[in-house]
């Protein structure tokens, strides 16, 4: 049966060194931390892509289109003459588009986040509560029984204070 091993570390650099070693040995790793350590991870393991920006851009473009269509479409479909003033007025169209651009940008950014993190997810997944308090966690999953000792050894070599085994 495949197993998941989570090593708990007191110091972030110890965890990153262990992660580096395990990654080079071909294991699939996941790191846990109680604080954002993106900068430290990128320094140690390389830069990660930022696809969220495309969601933000798509949201903004959709929002601009929606705002323009709503304002001009309303004026076209329900004609409301106002003493010789233009039916299609630029100022309110820009204002409405400005608001909907931002609103849609926010909503699609949120959707992008949920998509990439696969949240919400209430299924039970390997997790140790200490990583949300004061420990840094390094998880290696889908490891066969014969490899478990090697993974645990590497984690302990780099200063893991505790190694937790979980069955997949």
């Amino acid at each position: 049966m495949d197993r998941t091993v989570i090593g708990l570390f007191q110091y972030v650099d110890n965890m990153l060194d262990a992660a580096h070693r395990l990654k080079n040995a071909g294991y699939k790793i996941t790191m846990f931390s109680p604080v954002p350590i993106g900068h430290e991870i990128e320094e140690s393991l390389g830069e990660r892509p930022n696809y969220i920006k495309w969601f933000a851009l798509a949201g903004c473009l959709a929002g601009t289109g929606f705002g323009v269509l709503l304002t001009l479409g309303t004026a076209a479909m329900y004609v409301l003459p106002r003493g010789g003033r233009p039916l299609f007025s630029v100022t309110p169209t820009l204002l409405m588009a400005y608001e909907t651009t931002i609103l849609f940008g926010v909503i699609l950014t949120l959707l992008g986040f949920l998509l990439f993190t696969r949240l919400p997810s209430w299924k039970t997944k390997p997790y140790v509560e200490a990583v949300n308090i004061d420990s840094f966690g390094l998880m290696v999953d889908n490891i066969g029984k014969n490899k478990r000792a090697e993974v645990e050894g590497i984690m302990k070599e780099f200063g893991a204070t505790e190694v937790v085994n979980k069955l997949d």
Binding site: Q10, Y11, V12, D13, N14, T30, M31, F32, S33, P34, V35, P36, I37, G38, E40, I41, N50, I52, K53, A56, L70, T71, T74, A75, M77, Y78, L80, R82, R85, P92, T93, L95, M96, Y98, E99, T100, I102, L103, G105, V106, I107, T109, L110, G112, F113, F116, T117, L119, P120, S121, W122, K123, K125, Y127, E129, V131, N132, I133, D134, G159
Partner: protein, 448 residues
């Protein structure tokens, strides 16, 4: 930079314990205060509102030509209060200002609650609130859609967008902390926070996307907040009424909003830190920085006021002169005007001296004074313009009725009630950002 790090004597574990304790340990004083706030909300707001709905707008002081009175004063006031929470949080996040971390969560909550209070005032102001859906774009048999050339329609969209974005910003930034609470509580709380935390585990991937998305939210929020109060100002400035039709209104309102919102944060933080014993987290450094911000905003606000008076004086039209004289030199408005100048221009000058910025009593008095002044400002804008239009036969004095005064008091009770509920149901101090402030532990015994 040592001074910038506000929480370096705390441990990670202590932060989790302290913040969760603010939610789970509740004294009698809390229930008494909550009971007063709920009673005040029901008695001062809901009851007069029901009476007003039953008897109609006739029980208010609103009448020709004063169609806009104290309700819209409150609307602008609460929208203004909302402006510093999310906006300040977003600006300080982008500029990576460390002292933001302990205070931003409750400041963002303040934004949401005050926007909500403001939005309800639109309904209170409506004669027939059940027809609110007429402001929504939907095809209907009347063959009449919304007139998007009205600034009131800009308002509907701007405020809806701001409220939605503020809620997302608040909730999104709280997800890791909701997970931390989930891990420490039991019973019904465990179930609630399990759902709210969305299954957050604090993986590198979750943090990576959270940080990227949060940065975008912060970038979106800033222009949105600026646009909202500009649009609120256009409700007035796009009219042809002396005292309202001014090009300076948009920046004037935005500056005023940030000013009153920042003062609101100072008042709230002083009460909040004392009540929840959070002196370790919200330190004198926070008040020093916030009071410095108040000083800067006070100078800006005062400058715009001077410009407003001088441009009116320079225009030298009878209508402008009449409005200025009525507002600044005629009783009872003159008392209010000069009280506003005292609280919003003169008193904040105390903050030039660092000792006063770090004195919580001075900070409390000045911040409450600023918001009294900012409420007066909005009241004067409305009540000294609509009743004094171009032709004297239209002149009519506005006197708010008991119902309007009661609903105004009720709105403060409503806001207090929401905030009291918030501090017991939500981690009101950001756990993970305070930990960032403490520093990330490295094996070389240094914190980065």
């Amino acid at each position: 930079m040592a001074e910038e790090n506000t929480n370096n004597e705390l441990t990670y574990k202590e932060v989790n314990v302290d913040v969760v304790n603010t939610m789970t340990k509740t004294g009698l004083g809390y229930y008494v205060l909550l009971g007063c706030a709920v009673s005040g909300f029901l008695g001062f707001w809901i009851v007069p509102w029901i009476i007003q709905i039953y008897y109609g707008q006739g029980i208010t002081g609103l009448n020709t030509p004063n169609f806009w009175g104290i309700y819209l004063t409150n609307f602008v006031f609460w929208i203004g209060i909302s402006h510093s929470g999310t906006l300040l949080s977003a600006i300080l996040f982008i500029t990576k200002t460390p002292w933001r971390r302990s205070i931003y969560r409750s400041a963002e909550a303040m934004t949401f609650f005050s926007v909500l209070t403001a939005a309800i005032f639109i309904f209170v102001h409506m004669g027939r609130p059940w027809n609110f859906y007429w402001t929504m774009p939907y095809p209907n048999t009347r063959q009449l859609w919304l007139n998007f050339q009205s600034p009131l329609m800009f308002d509907v969209f701007a405020i809806s967008a701001y409220m939605t974005s503020s809620v997302i910003f608040l909730y999104f930034g709280s997800i890791p902390d909701l997970a931390a609470v989930r891990d420490r509580v039991t019973g019904w709380r465990k179930e609630v926070y399990t759902v709210l935390a969305l299954g957050w585990r604090g993986t590198d991937s979750e943090w990576h996307w959270l940080y990227k998305a949060y940065t975008f939210f912060a970038v979106f929020i800033i222009p949105l907040a600026v646009s909202v109060h500009s649009i609120v100002s256009w409700d007035f400035a796009l009219s042809k009424v002396p005292g309202l039709s001014k090009t300076i209104f948009a920046p004037y309102f935005v500056v005023g909003a940030i000013y009153s919102g920042s003062a609101g944060i100072v008042t709230l933080m002083l009460a909040f830190r004392k009540a929840l014993k959070l002196e370790k987290y919200i330190t004198l450094l926070h008040f020093d920085k916030l009071c410095l911000l108040l000083l800067v905003m006070s100078l800006l606000w005062s400058y715009i006021n001077v410009v407003e008076v001088f441009t009116g004086w320079y225009a030298n039209t009878s209508a402008e002169n009449e409005t200025l004289i009525f507002r600044m030199l005629t009783k009872p408005y003159a008392y209010m005007y000069w009280l506003m100048i005292l609280t919003n221009t003169v008193m904040p000058l105390l903050f030039i001296y660092k000792g006063f910025r770090r004195n919580i009593y001075i900070a409390l008095i000045v911040s409450v004074g600023i918001n009294v002044g900012m409420w007066i400002e909005r009241y004067l804008i409305l009540t000294t313009s609509l009743p004094r239009k171009f032709l004297p036969y239209m002149w009519h004095e506005y006197i708010p009725s008991l119902a309007e005064i009661s609903v105004t008091l009720g709105s403060f009770c409503f806001f207090t009630m929401l905030f009291l509920l918030f501090i017991k149901l939500w981690p009101s101090v950001s756990i993970y950002e305070v930990k960032e402030d403490i520093g990330i532990p490295f094996s070389s015994n240094k914190r980065k």
